[in-house]
Symmetry: C2
Subunit: 209 residues, 2 copies
């Protein structure tokens, strides 16, 4: 009975620690980048010692992989909820872009990690889309839907990704990078709605003949 109790209490405690490690790691990788981040930095944020991390994640690469996997899985899930049942291609494209914008505004550490991934081939050198494939597929699917319905011009989904969708990453990451006089809060509702209105305008211009 004592053993059973210990089992029950240890399991959730273990999961909570694992979750704390992942959250701390996301912040450390966002702030420092993969190369400069150390497991010690993550341990310090969590308030545990390095060996406790290694108990859950054998090394930095595995921890980073798990952070990346979680970011893209969470983003994809967030998108699915927003686009579910939205059948009109334009409405679905806007719902996808809105979902990405809202997800990244709500989780700026994810935005900065994705921003780094795009500059940095190293940690994903073998397969750069190992985790991001779901996001790329999400935008390809809606563009293909609109093109085949004749609603969209025959545009490249990757051009729409680079030219339109990428703006959400910059909007979040640049908030403090443009100097004091131009600093803004990306989560400020008025600021966010102005940027969203621009993104909608751009998306329509990009795909409508």
């Amino acid at each position: 009975m004592a053993d059973a109790n210990r089992q029950v209490t240890r399991q959730p405690r273990g999961d909570a620690t694992r979750q704390s490690i992942l959250e701390a790691a996301e912040k450390v990788f966002a702030d420092l980048g993969y190369a400069a981040a150390r497991l010690e930095d993550v341990a310090q944020v969590v308030g545990i010692r390095r060996p406790s991390i290694v108990y859950y994640f054998p090394g930095k690469q595995q921890l980073y992989d798990q952070v990346d996997a979680d970011i893209f899985a969470s983003m994809h899930e967030f998108v699915l909820k927003r686009v579910e049942g939205v059948d009109d291609p334009m409405a679905r494209l806007l719902a996808l872009l809105d979902a990405w914008l809202d997800f990244l505004v709500g989780r700026p550490t994810a935005a900065r990690i994705i921003q780094r991934l795009i500059a940095d081939p190293a940690p994903r050198g073998d397969n750069p889309v190992r985790f991001s494939e779901s996001a790329l597929h999400d935008i390809e699917a809606v563009i293909a839907m609109g093109v085949s319905a004749g609603t969209f011009r025959p545009v490249s989904a990757m051009h729409i990704l680079n030219g339109v969708a990428a703006g959400a990453l910059f909007y979040v990451c640049n908030a403090g990078q443009l100097g004091d006089a131009r600093a803004y809060d990306p989560a400020n509702p008025a600021e966010l709605e102005r940027f969203r209105a621009l993104v909608h305008k751009l998306a329509e211009a990009a795909v409508i003949s």
Copy 2:
């Protein structure tokens, strides 16, 4: 005479070495990021030893500063040539966006360093716009011109930067990051002209009432 000759031959040789170090450093910083890059990596690319770099640049931060300064100064100069005498605000905005796109396509190492700067507050923590100010001012000036002429809606120059101009960075940096099936050559003339046409369409949609 021998001394004078040595002076003459040493000076250009010195400048050529300095230039080689800067070019190598730009590549190393683009590939690895500031944190992971080492002066030894730069020395290896140039084919000299570390102390020869320290003769020109006392440390990594100074070398990185010089690379950044050169990127933004070169980009600004490139822009000035393109926008000179272009007085119509829309034409001037498109000339600016074209200049940035062409500059970054021609110098992808610069694109990746700027991409990293946006994610990474650390190396410019004290003043993130120390070198990028000229670029920010370039877009602010043309937006202000168009708004005051009544040609443009009253838009935020920073929203145009994040929503429209940033696409050029993604177009260049993402070329090899989207998986083998989606890889493209950003310098391929047909690919580049398709992306440029999209950027023009987005710019018009963004600023015209």
